[in-house]
């Protein structure tokens, strides 16, 4: 299990593209928005939570198809499925590796990029908290989507369409948590909802993803 995690991290750093792809995309979205909507700091500060969350979500989406596609192409997935570790553990580790290479860096750079959007200072802790709580759900749900489309030619397009609706609750409560936190309003409801979504996804999704992978391997 640790071997699989280390291998995935090493491949993400060395393989080029996997690591950094999401970050660069996030950077592009956040830097371009002020040019698009104009430089008024009031407007930017107001839409900052939505933009930051949307950017992070799309950046996550971008690297999803790499989770299983490469392992399927070179036969690794078949060999992993016959190795003496449960498929549930394999997909959980893959989701974790995706979060470490995509979600965690987004959480780290988001405060820096928030400067470009004139985010008020009281927003920073909420930005980091909401992303840290929400991005694991994005990785786990994304892994499920990647499992569904493994083995499909050009499955990336289908993957985005399948995963986007699953991402909506996380987006709603993540951005809402940040907005309410910034405005000094009660944050209990979005905070608990976001934490609940993430924990439920982590608890349930590995089983669903593993079942789907087993089925997909059977077909080919």
């Amino acid at each position: 299990m640790r071997a699989l995690l280390l291998r995935d991290l090493r491949l993400a750093v060395r393989g080029g593209g996997g690591f950094g792809l999401g970050l660069v995309f996030f950077l592009i979205v956040v830097t371009l928005v002020p040019f698009g909507v104009g430089p008024e700091s009031g407007v930017l500060a107001r839409i900052a939570p939505g933009i930051l969350w949307l950017g992070a979500l799309l950046a996550c989406l971008l690297s999803l198809d790499r989770i299983f596609a490469l392992d399927h192409e070179d036969g690794t997935l078949d060999l992993l499925a016959t190795a003496p570790i449960p498929m549930e553990a394999v997909v959980a580790v893959k989701a974790l590796a995706h979060w470490i290479t995509t979600g965690a860096p987004l959480v780290v750079v988001a405060p820096v990029l928030a400067l470009l959007l004139h985010l008020p200072s009281e927003g920073y802790p909420w930005l980091v908290l909401s992303l840290a709580l929400g991005t694991p759900a994005l990785s786990v749900l994304g892994t499920f989507g990647a499992a569904l489309t493994v083995g499909l030619r050009r499955g990336g397009l289908l993957l985005s369409l399948l995963v986007l609706p699953l991402y909506i609750p996380t987006l709603i409560f993540g951005a809402e948590l940040m907005r309410r936190g910034m405005a000094g309003m009660a944050v209990q409801v979005p905070l608990l909802m976001l934490a609940g979504i993430t924990t439920a996804c982590i608890a349930v999704m590995p089983f669903a993803s593993a079942a789907v992978i087993r089925m997909n391997l059977r077909q080919s």
């Binding site: 640790r2 071997a3 699989l4 291998r7 090493r10 491949l11 060395r14 393989g15 392992d71 192409e73 070179d74 036969g75 690794t76 078949d78 060999l79 992993l80 499925a81 016959t82 190795a83 003496p84 570790i85 391997l217 059977r218 077909q219």
Partner: protein, 203 residues
């Protein structure tokens, strides 16, 4: 002696269509069974079923020992070195040492080279070295000698003979002679009846 593998009345399907049926055989410890038959007869499908990737349509696969599967693709990562590739599989399967497997498959000198720079035959040797580090008693192999040169095939034959000598077993789909005493099974005899003609199905 307990058989490493027992297959009883197996029917396998490919794309929902039965390709082989009534297949029964067993492989004892220390034995290798070679599956023969023309391309498309269903060798790979049988091996995938025995490896546990596919469910048998009917019948049973009983395998009381650890099995390791080697497919057409070797599951190598081009960005990792030979040593890292092998180390990953060794850790995943337990803690078998990597060095002896590299030595045995004549890869010691290439240990630090990225797998991307290996020739097809070297990649295949690395894929076969993976079997050594799994520590599994039953090797299920699909065309293990593809892209190996004559020396590579001979080397593989020796490694296989050692594995069998140590009480291991193997099930191999291949068209070549491995230079090891093996039992053979021609799958052509087990071809499932095909419904080629619509009228025939009702005739």
């Amino acid at each position: 002696m307990v058989n490493a593998l027992t297959v009883r009345d197996l029917t396998v399907t490919r794309g929902g269509v039965a390709v082989l049926s009534g297949l029964s055989f067993c492989v004892a410890a220390g034995q290798a069974l070679v599956l023969r038959g023309p391309n498309g007869v269903g060798k790979t499908t049988v091996l995938r079923t025995i490896a546990g990737l596919q469910l048998p349509a009917t019948g049973q696969v009983i395998c009381p020992v650890d099995r390791a599967y080697a497919a057409h693709a070797d599951g190598l990562k081009p960005a990792l070195t030979v040593w890292e590739n092998l180390m990953f599989w060794a850790r995943l399967h337990g803690d078998m040492p990597v060095e002896p497997a590299l030595m045995r498959m004549d890869l010691r000198g290439l240990a630090d080279r990225p797998a991307a720079n290996l020739s097809a035959g070297q990649k295949r040797r690395l894929g076969l070295a993976r079997l050594l580090v799994t520590g599994a008693a039953l090797w299920v192999m699909d065309e293990p000698t593809v892209s190996l040169d004559a020396a590579g095939v001979a080397l593989f034959g020796q490694v296989l003979a050692e594995h069998l000598g140590a009480g291991g077993a193997a099930l191999i789909a291949t068209h070549v002679d491995l230079g090891v005493a093996v039992a053979e099974l021609d799958l052509t005899a087990y071809k499932a009846p095909q419904i080629d003609d619509f009228d025939m199905a009702f005739g």
